[in-house]
């Protein structure tokens, strides 16, 4: 007997309602991989701080695009659709686009602060921000772990504390 199916709890129904169309889970993970490579470059470009800052700004701008248009609106997602998706077979799993979009916001915050401080002359902020963002992007790409999503509940608890 499943008491869940015949009479779904109102909250459950509310959560399920208005759920946007699912996106291919491999898209955001591929995008995170591309981002991770760019962030490695930012770290390796230590001898050319200007170039490193510019590249970090590109990463931050990509996150901003993901926040504004959803993760499928980024150029990484476009590359995935045009180049990768046709070669890796049909979609096996879809996910709600809101979690990865929230992750884009976390990425924007981290890299945005790095770019801002870097532009203000705090040179060390660039590699620090790149390193933090790299950990998050790598975890997303390699393990499917969305660090920003894991932090969401902690943020919620603090805000309503």
């Amino acid at each position: 007997m499943n008491q869940h199916a015949p009479a779904p709890h109102p909250t459950t129904a509310a959560v399920a309602a208005e759920r946007p169309d699912g996106i291919d889970v491999r898209g955001p993970r591929f995008g995170a991989g591309v981002t991770a490579v760019l962030l490695v470059l930012v770290l390796l470009l230590g001898a050319w701080p200007g170039v490193a800052l510019a590249l970090l700004a590109v990463v931050a701008a990509s996150f901003a695009l993901g926040v504004a248009r959803g993760v499928s609106g980024t150029w990484q997602a476009a590359v995935f659709r045009r180049v990768v998706a046709p070669r890796v077979g049909p979609v096996v799993e879809r996910e709600d686009p809101r979690p990865p979009r929230f992750a884009q916001l976390v990425g924007l915050l981290v890299t945005g602060v790095g770019v801002l401080l870097g532009a203000l002359g705090v040179a060390v902020a660039v590699p620090v921000a790149a390193a933090v963002a790299l950990v998050a992007a790598f975890l997303n790409a390699a393990f499917g772990l969305c660090l920003g999503c894991e932090l969401y509940l902690l943020g919620l608890r603090l805000r309503r504390a």
Binding site: M1, N2, Q3, H4, A5, A7, H9, P10, T11, T12, A14, V15, V25, V40, L43, L44, G46, E95, D96, R98, P99, P100, F102, A103, P127, A131, L134, V135, F138, L139, A142, F143, L145, C146, G148, C149, E150, Y152, L153, L154, L156, R157, R160
Partner: protein, 172 residues
Amino acid sequence: MDRVLLVLGVLALAVVVGLVWRSRNGRFTPVPPSVLAAPSPDAADGQSSGGPAAGGAGGTDGRRDDRLTAAEIGAPLGAVATFVQLSSEVCTPCRRTHAVLAAVADEHDGVSHVDLDVAQHLDLVRRFGVMRTPTVLLLDASGAVVGRMSGATDRRQALAALDSCRRGVAPR
């Protein structure tokens, strides 16, 4: 060269974090039997998983805090067990876990599954010290929390958790 080491160090750290995270996902942590055996005014028969009598007398403070009622979760309790899943909007593994638990509840008599949004149940989040989503509290027939899992939970893990909850309950 320093920079190369920095990159390798950062990636090594990320791998360690990822492996720890993965090993913790869905792992069932039972509430110790001594805690479960502590008397509670409205305890139902057969809900304890064989706790020692020694745990009976002392340490009953706040024991009723570890018990959820149908009113609190907004749905009837399962006759055998209830999975109370705490989910958030920004959580992809919550969807997967929801599907797994809904299927398990469907297939087992007396097992039910309730999915709650953490944003609307911060009281439960605080009371049970929930740090991440999804977190699943497993309740026995009387509503006592007998254990919990957090992170993506697969079918095998859910069935194992159910097994440990059902021990002592006559199969039907």
